[in-house]
């Protein structure tokens, strides 16, 4: 019987990358990219509201993180997630985009990015989702459509539909949970 290797935690991954230095621990770097790429992408979508800009952010932040780790320039290896989040925030604030620099870095780090660039945000079965949407109560469908078409907050949706923001949040929450259950039931 094979023993399953324990999954390294964030700090262990960071230590392996630092220890390898210029020799590169490709496995650890790939795991770091696999683990954090979806989170960086979510951060980018939340703050930049653009798929393309979020994809750029994923590359920029992972490049900087690996570069700093390889150079031994990350001080608190036990707080890797905080370091990467801080890098996300600073990158968005700076809005820095240097094409030439990115190309050079991408050449250096390309093996890790083969994994990070995989689409981890697997799309739902559209037919199943549409069927579930059609079976929602009318209010829930109206609120979910008007919310998620372009990510509008409860007060805006409420104004348009004659509902209070609190009422919209309740309807929205019920709708999301009902839709999630429906999609999961049909999947299983």
């Amino acid at each position: 019987m094979h023993e399953v290797a324990p999954v390294p935690d964030d700090s262990e991954l960071a230590r392996r990358i630092v220890a390898a230095g210029t020799h590169h621990d490709a496995t650890a770097e790939a795991e770091l990219c696999r683990r954090f790429a979806p989170r960086i992408r979510l951060y980018g979508l939340r703050h930049l509201r653009s798929d393309a800009a979020a994809a750029d952010l994923v590359q920029d932040v992972l490049l900087m993180t690996l570069q700093k780790l390889r150079a031994g320039a990350v001080r608190e290896l036990d707080k890797l997630a905080s370091f990467i989040l801080g890098t996300c925030r600073q990158t968005v604030i700076d809005g820095r985009r240097s094409g030439g620099r990115r190309e050079r870095l991408l050449d250096t780090f390309s093996p890790s990015f083969d994994i990070a660039s995989e689409d981890s945000d697997t799309a739902l079965d559209s037919g199943r989702l549409e069927s579930c949407l059609q079976h929602l109560p009318e209010r829930e469908r109206s609120v979910l459509v008007m919310t998620f078409y372009d990510d509008r907050p409860a007060d805006e949706v409420g104004t348009a539909l004659g509902l209070t923001p609190g009422n919209v949040r309740v309807i929205r929450h019920r709708g999301i949970e009902r839709l999630r259950r429906c999609v999961e039931e049909q999947t299983s």
Binding site: L42, D121, L124, L129, E130, S142, V145, D150, A160, I176
Partner: protein, 187 residues
């Protein structure tokens, strides 16, 4: 709000939609970024939202919307075919190959309505579908109904009727009947 506490689904939605103040949003963001479980749940929410958006753009559902929402979709470049009907009137209608959405503005006096239902009738088949408890703005002069474009595209020549009903003690009160005489585009 503790940075070490997993967020509820409702809080994750509020964070995603920008409803929280800066401190609460930063707390949730910090926690989610370091938490596999919560980042996975947020990703599922975002995926669900993207699916809803795609279904909306594809015209793959019927729903009551608002006039402002329809305008936003038009501003985004979607081709929206619109019909405007007073109570008791009919319209000749269709769907063109390049239409993304078809919406009907059903005029009605809603000021004193507590609950609004919509009944969709197929007079030929003698069937009806009742959409219960619509979201509507009493200050508006009617409701906007988006039709499922896949359903419309497979219709040949057909008549469909929509009735708006105020649901109240003592029975339903009809606010209007709207008749759609549909034909295939170009026919």
């Amino acid at each position: 709000m503790s940075a070490f506490t997993c967020s509820s689904n409702a809080d994750l939605a509020a964070y995603w939609l920008g409803e929280l103040d800066a401190t609460d949003a930063a707390d949730i963001e910090t926690h989610v970024f370091g938490c596999d479980h919560c980042s996975g749940r947020l990703q599922n929410l975002v995926r669900l939202g993207a699916g809803i958006r795609q279904a909306t753009v594809a015209g793959a559902l019927h729903a009551v919307l608002s006039p402002d929402f329809v305008r936003r979709m038009q501003d985004d470049g979607l081709r929206v075919r619109e019909y405007r009907l007073q109570p008791g009137t009919s319209v000749a209608c269709t769907i063109a190959p390049d239409d993304d959405l078809v919406v009907s503005h059903l005029q009605a006096a809603l000021a004193d309505v507590e609950r609004l239902d919509l009944v969709f009738e197929d007079p030929d088949a003698g069937t009806q579908l009742r959409m219960q408890d619509l979201a509507f703005d009493r200050a508006a002069d009617g409701v906007v109904l988006a039709s499922n474009t896949r359903y419309l595209r497979q219709l040949d020549t057909a008549t469909r009727r929509v009735r708006l009903l105020a649901v109240q003690e003592g029975g339903d009160r009809e606010l209007g009947t709207y008749t759609f005489n549909h034909s295939r585009y170009g026919a």
